[in-house]
Amino acid sequence: MAAIVGYGAYVPRYRIKVEEIARIWGRQAKSISSGLNVFEKSVPSIDEDTATISVEAARRAVKAAKINPEEIGAVYVGSESHPYAVKPTATIVAEAIGATPELTAADYEFACKAGTAGMQNCIALVESKMIKYGMAIGADVAQAAPGDALEYTAAAGGAAYIIGKEGIAEINETVSFTTDTPDFWRREGQPYPGHGERFTGEPAYFRHVGTAAKMLMERIGSKPSDYDYAIFHQPNGKFPVRIARKLGFEKKQIEDGLLCPIIGNTYSGSAMLGLAAVLDIAKPGQRILTVSYGSGAGSDAFDITVTDAIESYPRQGIRRMIEEKKYVDYATYMKFRREFE
């Protein structure tokens, strides 16, 4: 199959603590934090949106991969918070990284898994030799209604992947599991998403992530112990831990890719950022399972093997970037989210 040629990630530096949000709404921070396994979340600055986050991640990927951006034949940006309803984010990114004009580009939406859907498309285009390199981005500045349960986790961040014939990690297989399951949605013109609360768990996240992972392992004849790392979409810090245990993975396989407790749910960025954190430390020959999840609902699963080329790849240290943070209070958070405008 195709390979990951390069990757880049970006998480805004601002953070708000669960405690601070709970303080405003008169809730018990401790039970929310322990219930969600989330302690703080990233907050986009007032001038950041899905386009700027995508560009940041894309630039880092191109720079690290040391490729000529003009050879990128496709750019797909997956997000549920594209700045425009009509007018692609992907063209902004393509122009910013110097990939225009000879390429195809489009925006994707599939709740939190649009970015991995873009990766699959890039794999197909590379495999069919329609393009040399393809770039898939998952990025979001996630919306949450003030006071809603989502407010404790809805965060910002994104990751960009360059897909080509050979690279730092081979993609051995990818499968998807998709159904019409309305667990989470946002209609045209609505500022905040609605959700089915507990319905988002068992029949939505767990069914799709669990099934996609099992389908993938069945197809290639692997088992949980074959993987050095596993990354599952992280709507909170609890769900990925629970599905990992259910599937038979151990804590040590998932902890390096688990970013949600310290940055929140970056939606389309979530699983892709988790994978980036693992690629930051992975050694040649190591094997990685990644499963995204998008409400509505579907999961894309990837089986990946790290190659020798990773040794010379300039790793960016996502965790180091995340550590460089600045806390804001609730009012500043609301200002940054432009809630007062």
Binding site: Q28, S31, H195, G196, R198, E202
Partner: protein, 388 residues
């Protein structure tokens, strides 16, 4: 009046049953009860189905007709009636079924109860449930059921010295029992600390002091005792079936540490059955909140008023106690699909009296009681059953 027996029971698993619709729940519980009784469809003379707010939970009223259709008995054109009395809908349906058989009007009657509560989100379930209180004078002013029962808890704590820990012990006991019931929504043990550390819903009630939002259905088949012998030798006789009512609004009551309707229903039921509280071997009571079980065991005369907390602490109501209460896990752990609850309580007591309750079996139980409450006590239904 004729003597009435329960010849069959059936219920679905209780829980968040995303994959099952209201109609499927009704069908499943009904079919199980019919198979348990060993009757045929054409034997059935009438149906009563308890449902609290099907109209607001799933947008479906007229569920009597729906139950008839899912039972496939439309060609018989028998009467199928939906009964509503908030969370006592199932208990009142049982009472209606009892009257219908005892009077001689019908021989074989199916009583059911069902609720599909997980299709609504946000505060909607709380709001729908608040329709069981006085909308004009309570709910519109922000009172919810956790709020009303929190008032009872506060009053009980203040006047009788009941403690938070004693409230928590009700939940701990019922979760233990639930862990032994394969149909319970929560089949896991919890500790007093778990209850006290769970989020506060309405002070002093924590999340684990409250019964959950649940999908589920339950059914029972009633027949006159003499006809019952044709179908089964495991006859459970209804020794008493009493419904009592009170003001809709909680604030109009004479006292806050008791539900007078439940006291009245219990007193009449004991008279009707010719038994005393101390004769009861096992009871299912309406523990919609932990304080409700403490008040219930007092109202039923198992203990003196004010001593419910202490009695719980001392293990009186534990599975191996003097009067095991809520062996099924109760509303707290078994789950509380409001319209089904009264009939599910009957299911548990019948299982206990038949000796079919497996790991939660109360040894030698022959007389059992159910206590089903609507709203903050506007309706209460007490049944006393006996294995004969």
């Amino acid at each position: 009046m004729r003597e009435v027996a329960i010849i069959g029971i059936g219920m679905t698993e209780f829980g968040e049953l995303w994959q099952k619709s209201f109609r499927e729940l009704v069908a499943e519980a009904g079919v199980k009860a019919i198979l348990d009784a060993g009757i045929e469809g054409e034997n059935i003379d009438a149906m009563y189905i308890g449902g609290m707010s099907t109209g607001r939970f799933i947008g479906q009223e007229h569920v009597g007709s729906l139950a008839l259709e899912v039972a496939g008995l439309e060609d018989l054109h028998i009467p199928a009636t939906r009964v509503e009395a908030a969370c006592a809908s199932g208990g009142v349906a049982m009472h209606q079924g009892y009257i219908a058989v005892a009077s001689g009007m019908y021989d074989i009657v199916v009583v059911g109860g069902a609720e599909k509560m997980t299709d609504v989100v946000g505060g909607e379930a709380t709001n729908i449930l608040a329709s069981a209180a006085d909308r004009e004078w309570e709910s519109f002013f922000g009172a919810t059921f956790p709020g009303l029962y929190a008032l009872m808890a506060r009053y009980h704590m203040h006047h009788h010295g009941t403690t938070q820990e004693q409230l928590a012990m009700v939940a701990v006991k019922n979760h233990h029992n639930g862990s032994l019931n394969p149909k319970a929504q929560f089949r896991r043990e919890i500790s007093i600390e778990d209850v006290l550390n769970s989020p506060i819903v309405a002070e002093p009630l924590h999340l684990l002091d409250c019964s959950p939002i649940t999908d589920g259905a339950a059914a029972a088949i009633l027949a006159p005792v003499d006809i019952a012998r044709k179908y089964t030798d495991k006859i459970i006789k209804i020794k008493a079936s009493v419904q009592a009512c009170d003001t809709l609004s909680f604030h109009s009551r004479s006292r806050f540490d008791s539900l007078p309707a439940a006291v009245h229903a219990a007193k009449k039921a004991y008279e009707m059955a010719g038994v005393k509280p101390s004769d009861i071997d096992v009871a299912e009571v309406h523990d919609c909140f932990t304080i409700a079980e403490i008040i219930a065991i007092e109202d039923l005369g198992f203990v003196e008023k004010g001593k419910g907390g202490k009695a719980t602490e001392e293990g009186l109501t534990a599975l191996d106690g003097q009067i095991p209460v809520n062996t099924s896990g109760g509303l707290k752990a078994k789950g509380h699909p409001v319209g089904a609850t009264g009939v599910a309580q009957i299911n548990e007591i019948v299982m206990q009296l038949r000796g079919e309750a497996d790991k939660r079996q109360v040894k030698g139980a022959t007389i059992g009681l159910t206590h089903n409450v609507g709203g903050s006590g506007g309706t209460a239904v007490v049944h006393i059953l006996e294995a004969i």
